[in-house]
Symmetry: C2
Subunit: 456 residues, 2 copies
Amino acid sequence: MSQKSQITPLSGFPEWLPEQRIVEQDLLDRIRALAELYGFVPLETRAVEPLEYLVHQGETSKEIYTVGRLQDSGQASELGLHFDLTVPLARYVQEFRGKLRFPFKRYQIQKVWRGERPQEGRYREFYQADLDVVGDGELSLHFDAEMPAIIHALLTALPVPPATVLVSNRKILDGFGRGLGRADTTEIVRALDKLDKVGPQAVRQMLLEHAGASGSEADRWLSLAAIRSTDTGFVDDATALGVTDDLFAEGVDELATVMAACSTLPHGAVVADLHIARGLDYYTGTVYESMIAGHDDLGSICSGGRYDDLASGGGHALPGVGISVGVSRLLGRFLGSGRLRASRTTPTCVLVALTNDDTRAQSAAIAQQLRARGIAAEVFHEPLRFGKQIRHADRRGIPFVWFPPLAGDDKDSVRDLRSGAQVPADAATWTPPGNDLRPTIEVAADPLRATRPHGV
Amino acid sequence: MSQKSQITPLSGFPEWLPEQRIVEQDLLDRIRALAELYGFVPLETRAVEPLEYLVHQGETSKEIYTVGRLQDSGQASELGLHFDLTVPLARYVQEFRGKLRFPFKRYQIQKVWRGERPQEGRYREFYQADLDVVGDGELSLHFDAEMPAIIHALLTALPVPPATVLVSNRKILDGFGRGLGRADTTEIVRALDKLDKVGPQAVRQMLLEHAGASGSEADRWLSLAAIRSTDTGFVDDATALGVTDDLFAEGVDELATVMAACSTLPHGAVVADLHIARGLDYYTGTVYESMIAGHDDLGSICSGGRYDDLASGGGHALPGVGISVGVSRLLGRFLGSGRLRASRTTPTCVLVALTNDDTRAQSAAIAQQLRARGIAAEVFHEPLRFGKQIRHADRRGIPFVWFPPLAGDDKDSVRDLRSGAQVPADAATWTPPGNDLRPTIEVAADPLRATRPHGV
């Protein structure tokens, strides 16, 4: 059906092997389970949005993929692929507003598309997993305060090294600027955002050159940005900087409420870090980032914040607070490097051996009895020598091979391929150890074999 | 963020409410669980393929959606959205051939896109769920024979009326034609394919007019197409038609093998039906359709067959046999009509009441204890009167409201909102009835409220 030349990876469109997809599915399942434990409802939106709407929302319209019809080629596209899950959420909530229950807590796990230049951790097609709470008119700060615990629980549920949740509040930066007589903090935010990458000296230079700050103002910004605490201790440090402004005070208060709500989490799991700004995003209050221990170069793996209005232009505001997990980026690092792998390459737990073609129905019945009790089973397709059938199972990591009785008074038996132990068994009652029922995800201490997905 | 005019459904791009998405997810979960029970490995391919490749594969290139970059507008697209999951499978198997294990049994559940004219059951963006077995060089007929049992199990696992699996073999039609001195059966297949819709008289007319058949030839085709049996009984009827041809005999033999393997399934679950041809698809052997009782107008809801070569042009053939479930079409009928619904609109099992702002940490700790044991819980966000908090839960169908102790020596209690019964409870041990843990899918005897998805 195809020309060989067309069989080629597409740069930026990663694809996994099935055994890697098992790991990806496991991660997505864990995120979904966690979101549902916290009462978020599932949502899936269409992949396309009106192009005009996407362009209007996006800061980076050159990265948008347009969608057209082959038969209409030459005509301008009217549709585009969504580049995140927030813009579709805004449209969805407006469209279905009358049928949704507020506060609307939804999670959404879907592919998104961006025409970026592909590089490590940057794909053109990738998974995002978003959790948002949207209010109709107003939204309690309680939801901001709950979010660090959710991020912590979520990242703890994933088989990756421990993560630290960093929290701040945009009102602190904006209010600090106002207190210093600054109406616009865009260039300040842009500079502080680079702190992790280039360090305070280079940021100071940027504050002087691009933001027009004096040396003493630049130092005050750097002092603010250096404040960190694992509890509400940041309040005293921030206040000590001597800037008086209502918005600043409000931001400090809000962040204190958020940090106080995190006091039951393990010490250090959540850190107030006043340099967190979420760049040029549309956040207006609390902001979140989270860093995985030993993987600072990966950047924030779960980020988000509070926005005043998800969708202006309607009658009343739709304030929200939410987070987004970069699933594909996580997987690119931990799955692609071989640090994560599935315990076997197939869901199959038991391969039922086929003695000869005449007893195929017998083998099929055994497999069916196992499946009826939730045990994944398949019948080997050819009556080859048992040694070959065992090798087939072994190569796939299938833990058990089942042997039907060979003679009338013989018994069924099942062999554990790892120990080699073979014992009599009854397909109506035999149960594998819980850990063998499904493939499990193993964290390799020493990643042996780096397997990046094709297309990267 | 938006202009009101852009907030509009897109024809053919259905979107569900969260409580409907719960049902959709449940269906997808059941299909996935079933596929894994039979040992199919998970696969997900990128949404885009080279446009040239799609056009080369598709019979209906005018339905292909092209994908381009906004910044490159004016340039011809080089990518398109996949319109099924078979074409991506063919490309994937060729690309990753050296890393896959054959026979390669994979399932794949993804959205596909087709620029069709939207109508009931026809969408532009929709879910397909495919199961295929692909061999490297050869593939045992055993896999054809196992497929009806898988289709039966799959459709039995879904909350829809009972389905009948119809099976035939393309070699029977092609061989019958050869026996009658016909090299090309394209027009015959096209006519017989319409049998269900227009009846034998009209098909006879088509055979005469479009296929150039004589009256007696047309009658023999209609006799062949009328043959049905719930076992291997079709063999005698087919042989009795007196056509001698090797390919015909081979098709009859293969179908007999498939039907014999189905003898352990409930009587009538699988029917040999010699008029099944799967139209102009690329099948070369066994073909499958399945009809849901009382919903013949829906057409086949799970179809497929055997193909000689998934991807010619490589060194050796990649024969396969597979099926595809029209998930969105099923949902359009059974969810859209209100016949299927979730028992509640949220995953939340327990709403923990908030007594006042000072005891928020107490309520949060209760919710956390429940979640730690897999019970989805959320804390009400405001210390409103308990009556209001109960109404909030009731409107969402949340079955339980938890009340923290009001005074020091008071006990926790939990109320079942359906019975009104309120009992003392301990968050460390209390467990809801199994049916209440997650939303369940209910089949309404009498669909009250038809809710078609937006965008249809």
